[in-house]
């Protein structure tokens, strides 16, 4: 049965029905509503047995999750933005040790300049941390991915990060279905650890490994993560059978049959993109969209198959690698190497800037008319005047001051300097 729910509340309830035994978290916007709801459920006994640890930092949150997981508990946490960066060292420990922790990432920009709004800079910064990364295009998918994530993590003994757009999804209220406890229990068996700290059967976890075997242990990390490319579609199929709706999987194609132009994206912008695809299809344009749900491991063969028949592939991404360009774009190019499609890299929706249908339509027009170049980084809706004014200041004055404050004055968000 569907209820009108906030995304965060729905995710918290779904996570609770996955029966985590330890939740350790430190609140940070826009993740807060999720961990608050879980904390409430532990306090009231609705989620039991479960230990909720309000720790002193994100580093502690991940460290506690690592300890809990190593002791054989199903462990969960959630964070965003700077919080993810603060737990970076522990992230590598969780994956390197092979501990099946599930974490929600409420995607948010990284400062400076400080910004609490949505983009994918946080999760993309940890794409090589050894965590499996799944991206939710809607709140229903976010709910469903969490249920699959625990099963995936525990099957492979690897941690899984479920990424959902901060605010855009976490704070949106919409009709959502949370599977019942019985349904989830039938889908997700009790956690059976591959390794466990047990006083009755002592082992050590986390040995130092020298040059004699470090490469081999790291190779296994890669080989293990690559197994998710088989397991993710299997779990999605099993989920569809058990819960009666498709959700998850590596990719999602939308009207890509015969498409000459395919938009590629991750996360909540896909809904808006699908509306644009429908509008343009109605107008006769051969266009489709490809949503990448599983970004790590990267489903390179499946991406190639989905895009090979297009003339143009437009990657719309909510983060970029300073100094080179698109991140998803680079991965897509690798998948398409040697094949005809031309790839456009478009950075959009940084720090909460809305990605509108109008802008997306304008982008497709520009691509069709050849007025933007492929193989060059393009920024959607970039305000060139603002950039040029600041560049001018840099040229004119040595002590031109901080970019952020200068530009905010130009747009009138803050008053002129008073000192």
């Amino acid at each position: 049965m569907r209820d009108q729910l906030e995304g965060s509340q729905a995710v918290a309830r779904a996570v609770a029905r996955c029966r985590p035994e330890v939740v350790s978290a430190y609140p940070i916007s826009p993740q807060t509503h999720i961990v608050e709801a879980l904390s409430d459920m532990v306090r009231t006994g609705e989620l039991a047995p479960c230990e909720y640890l309000l720790v002193e930092s994100e580093f502690a949150a991940m460290s506690a999750a690592i300890g809990a997981s190593a002791a054989g508990a199903r462990a969960y946490t959630a964070t965003a933005s700077q919080g993810l960066l603060y737990m970076a060292e522990a992230l590598y420990n969780a994956s390197g040790l092979g501990l099946p922790i599930v974490m929600t990432l409420a995607n948010r920009a990284i400062g400076a300049p400080i910004n609490i709004w949505n983009d994918h800079s946080d999760s993309m910064s940890q794409r090589d941390s050894g965590w499996i990364q799944l991206y939710a295009e809607s709140n229903q998918v976010a709910v469903d991915l969490h249920i699959q994530a625990f099963k995936l993590a525990e099957a492979l003994s690897l941690p899984v990060m479920v990424c959902m757009d901060g605010f855009v999804l976490t704070h949106a209220v919409e009709p959502l279905e949370i599977p019942t406890q019985e349904q989830i229990d039938a889908f997700l068996p009790a956690y059976e650890p591959r390794q466990v700290l047990d006083p009755d059967d002592p082992v050590t976890i986390g040995a130092m490994v020298g040059p004699e075997a470090f490469t081999e242990v790291r190779y296994l990390a890669h080989a293990k993560q690559m197994q998710a490319l088989d397991l993710v579609p299997e779990l999605a199929a099993e989920f569809a059978t058990s819960f009666g709706r498709p959700s998850g999987g590596l990719l999602r194609r939308y009207r890509t049959e015969g498409a000459k132009t395919i938009l590629v994206a991750l996360g909540s912008v896909l809904g808006t993109i699908e509306d644009v695809v429908d509008e343009l299809r109605d107008e006769g344009e051969r266009i489709g969209a490809l949503g990448i749900t599983c970004f790590r491991p990267f489903p390179i063969d499946e991406v190639r198959d989905a895009l090979a028949g297009a003339d143009r592939v437009v990657v719309v991404e909510r983060a970029f690698a300073v100094g080179i360009g698109g991140i998803v774009g680079q991965n897509v190019r690798l998948a398409l190497s040697g094949l005809p499609p031309v790839v456009y890299d478009v950075v959009a929706g940084l720090g909460g800037r809305a990605i509108t249908r109008r802008s997306l339509r304008g982008l497709i027009e520009d691509v069709d008319e050849g007025s933007i170049e492929p193989n060059r980084l393009h920024f959607l809706d970039l305000d060139w005047k603002l950039v040029e004014r600041e560049l001018q200041r840099l040229q004119e004055t040595r002590r031109s001051g901080p970019h952020a404050e200068n530009i905010l004055r130009d747009v009138g968000v803050v008053a002129g300097r008073s000192h």
């Binding site: 709004w117 809904g271 808006t272 809305a354």
Partner: protein, 204 residues
């Protein structure tokens, strides 16, 4: 009775933008509206503009209501209805940006459009019967004992547009608040709905 129409337009979507200030329940209003629409079998998506969670700061929230699944998550730029919870925003925020000539406009004020200096503007830009003022803050003070205009405005909105029923709004309010607060808000919403139905501007 005011002229009514099935307010969900030919693309099957009705979009509402709510402006107010932090602390006035702007985000809650959008959420309650979505709950009311959902209860009546519609798909509904409510979401706020985010960030400035400071009391008194301008806040905008959105609600899309449709007969089909809603996918787009862009902010509402061309609303079918506008709810203004606080007229002190008139000179601070571009409240009427993107609001088309067929749109409904509901303004929380105990004064008339003329006193706000909006009468000529409203007459030239909108259908006069679709621009309505309600003294929602006063109604809330009277029925709830607190100057929180959001629930009253939703009652007025339901009566003005017919997109959701007043009963569904009342049920959404009851589902959200404890009994005493809920009943105060429901009373304010019903009073505002009645005022809009009778076509009188509620003055302080």
């Amino acid at each position: 009775m005011r002229p009514r129409r099935l307010a969900i337009d030919d693309v099957g979507m009705f979009e509402i933008r709510i402006h107010g200030r932090g602390g006035q329940g702007v985000v809650t209003a959008a959420e309650l509206l979505s709950v009311a629409a959902f209860a009546e079998g519609k798909d509904a998506l409510a979401f706020p503009t985010f960030g400035s969670e400071r009391t008194g700061a301008p806040v905008t929230a959105f609600c899309r209501i449709a007969e089909r699944p809603i996918r787009s998550r862009e902010p509402i730029v061309e609303p079918d209805a506008l709810i203004v919870q606080d007229t002190t925003l008139l000179h601070q925020v571009d409240l009427f940006g993107g609001v088309g000539p067929e749109a409904y406009v509901l303004i929380n004020t105990g004064r008339g459009l003329d006193e706000l200096g909006l009468d000529e503007f409203a007459a030239s830009r909108f259908r006069p019967e679709r621009v309505v003022t309600v003294a929602a803050t006063e109604l809330a003070r009277e029925h709830l004992g607190r100057p929180l205009p959001n629930a009253a405005l939703l009652g007025g909105f339901a009566a003005l547009t017919g997109v959701v029923s007043v009963e569904a709004v009342a049920n959404a309010i009851r589902g959200r608040f404890s009994a005493k607060i809920a009943e105060g808000n429901v009373a304010a919403a019903l009073a505002a709905a009645e005022a809009v139905r009778e076509g009188r501007t509620v003055r302080a």
